[in-house]
């Protein structure tokens, strides 16, 4: 019993100190957020020898002839800019969110809500306090990027959206810095070293941005936590090889990783293009541009919202809650894919994935028709039967409403379809806090 109460006392003490710590971190964040970015990067002096502590710490790699003391010394005076997330939006943003933690290993539970740059720097400092970390809690934008990139020797792009990828690459070309770029989605990863040893830049490979509707982010497409971890490790390796003078073999090569098959592939890429708009022989771009306009999408991995329906064709979660409470006869159709329905769903909803609706899948329409028929028995009203459609965020539900509206009456009888704005995530936020947010 003594040991138990001692344990309880210690736990309470730890909790108290953790709260104190997170309050301090919050204060630090707000102080740093006000600082002018990019003003003072300490210059790293060339040195003739390693310190005793450095020799102890790095002895296992110092004995590698490929690196040796020479490489380690080069490394010690090298600076690396790590671009994380997509922060070209005007507001200060990108705080650590719970959904980041499964893959972004520098952010711990205790630092949820803290700016990512500060959280990462705090973690790294715990691992190696001899390295200088400069957190920039700012939006990388066409006006700040070039000045920032110029101060560093190597750039690592770990961002999560197309406009930022172009911005970082263009800035690296203009500043003459090598760029180690890695990305991951679902169970796949890709890595290329751009603008290095005469090789191509991102624009050489992708002169035109992809149409916004073809771009999938991690929130929509999903990503297995360890996959970006693997890509990040290889990215760190290539940065280290460049910084220490070993050199990277990924200029003009793409590494493709397929985690499902467990396969790495090396793809030989095109050389630098002589007609590239930024790194070519006579570049048409000599400064950074507006990347969100260029890509037709915003620099964040957050989901875009669609405006397909008029407000008369949509209802709010509050309105839906009311008609549910009043037991108004209706059918609720959940159009999300099966994997998302497996995570959570409203018990009374009828599940018909959007893809099946769009393909006018006979079996699904029959099933839906049956459910409508059954529910109709609760009412004697002869007016069109209400069908409400819900998805995660209120985009797919709009597409589904359009499909339902265009069905001939013989399919489902006379119905009036509307969607629920903001979808299940709005339901979780505004109506039922116990409903999972994913």
């Amino acid at each position: 019993a003594m040991a138990l109460s001692e344990a309880a006392r210690l736990r309470a003490e730890i909790e108290r100190r953790e709260q104190e710590l997170s309050a301090l971190q919050g204060q630090l964040a707000s102080v740093l957020a006000k600082e002018e970015p990019g003003s003072e990067l300490p210059t790293l002096q060339a040195r003739a020898s390693l310190s005793l502590a450095e020799i102890l710490r790095y002895s296992r790699q110092l004995v590698l002839p490929e690196l040796g003391v020479r490489g380690q010394l080069r490394l010690s005076r090298c600076s690396v800019l790590v671009v994380e997330g997509g922060t070209a939006v005007p507001v200060m943003e990108k705080d650590v969110e719970m959904s980041n933690l499964h893959r972004q290993v520098l952010h711990g539970e205790a630092r949820e809500g803290l700016p990512k740059a500060l959280s990462a720097a705090a973690s790294l400092r715990q691992l190696n306090s001899a390295v200088q970390y400069v957190p920039y809690h700012l939006a990388l934008s066409p006006s700040t990027a070039l000045e920032l990139v110029r101060q560093y020797d190597v750039v690592a792009d770990c961002s999560d959206n197309v406009p930022t990828r172009y911005l970082v690459s263009d800035a690296c070309v203009l500043a003459g810095k090598p760029l180690v770029s890695a990305s991951a989605l679902r169970l796949e990863g890709q890595l290329v070293v751009y603008n290095y040893q005469g090789g191509p830049c991102y624009r050489c490979l992708f002169p035109k941005p992809p149409p916004p509707e073809t771009v999938t982010n991690c929130a929509d497409g999903g990503v297995l936590g360890v996959v970006p971890g693997i890509m990040g490790c290889i990215q760190a390796l290539e940065v280290l090889k460049i910084a220490s003078g070993i050199g990277s073999g990924f200029s003009q090569f793409m590494l493709m990783f397929d985690a499902l098959e467990g396969r790495f592939r090396n793809i030989k890429l095109r050389p630098k293009k002589s007609d590239c708009a930024i790194c070519g022989d006579s570049p048409t771009m000599t400064s950074l541009q507006d990347y969100e306009a260029f890509c037709g999408s915003s620099a964040t991995d957050k989901c875009r919202s669609l405006h397909l329906l008029t407000s008369k064709e949509r209802i709010s979660v509050e309105e839906y809650k009311k008609l549910w409470d009043e037991q108004v006869p209706h059918i609720l159709v959940d159009v999300r894919p099966q994997v998302e329905v497996d995570i959570c769903s409203l018990a009374h909803s009828v599940h018909v994935p959007l893809s099946k609706l769009e393909g006018q899948n006979e079996e699904c329409l029959k099933y839906l028709g049956k459910r409508i028929c059954k529910e109709k028995q609760r009412t004697s009203s002869k007016t069109a039967f209400p069908v409400y459609v819900i998805c995660k965020l209120g985009n797919d539900s709009q597409k589904a409403v359009r499909v339902l509206q265009e069905l001939p009456d013989k399919e489902l009888g006379s119905i009036v379809a509307k969607d629920i704005q903001g979808g299940l995530m709005a339901w979780a936020r505004k109506i039922d806090p116990s409903f999972p947010q994913y």
Binding site: A182, Q190, P209, T216, P228, R265, I267, L269, R270
Partner: protein, 101 residues
């Protein structure tokens, strides 16, 4: 007359989602008067493999921006792009670039 030809056609980086989620397709192209090149292959894919929303894969007579084409593990730019003459047993990969992290 070009003889029938066997290819391995692969989709990745999310492009496979336009093909029922199937990444690897063992493909036999029929005999035809002209030799098979990537331009013809794209038409054939559009007619035979691509089930929905072709505009997310093909624009005009080429692939949409953001899709990289690899012929036997090399960027198609190095191989003549649309004009590359396919050989029996070639491996053609269409990979959508990833941006997430």
């Amino acid at each position: 007359m070009a003889a029938p030809m066997s290819l391995v056609v692969e989709f990745g980086g999310g492009a496979e989602l336009l093909f029922d989620g199937i990444k690897k397709h063992q493909v036999t192209l029929p005999c035809q008067p002209e030799p098979w090149d990537i331009r013809n292959l794209l038409k054939w894919i559009k007619q035979n493999l691509l089930k929905e929303r072709p505009e997310l894969f093909i624009q005009g007579d080429t692939v949409r921006p953001g899709i990289l084409v690899l012929i036997n593990d090399a960027d198609w730019e190095l191989m003549g792009e649309l004009d590359y003459k396919l050989q029996n047993q070639d491996n053609v990969v269409f990979i959508s670039t990833l941006h997430g992290g």
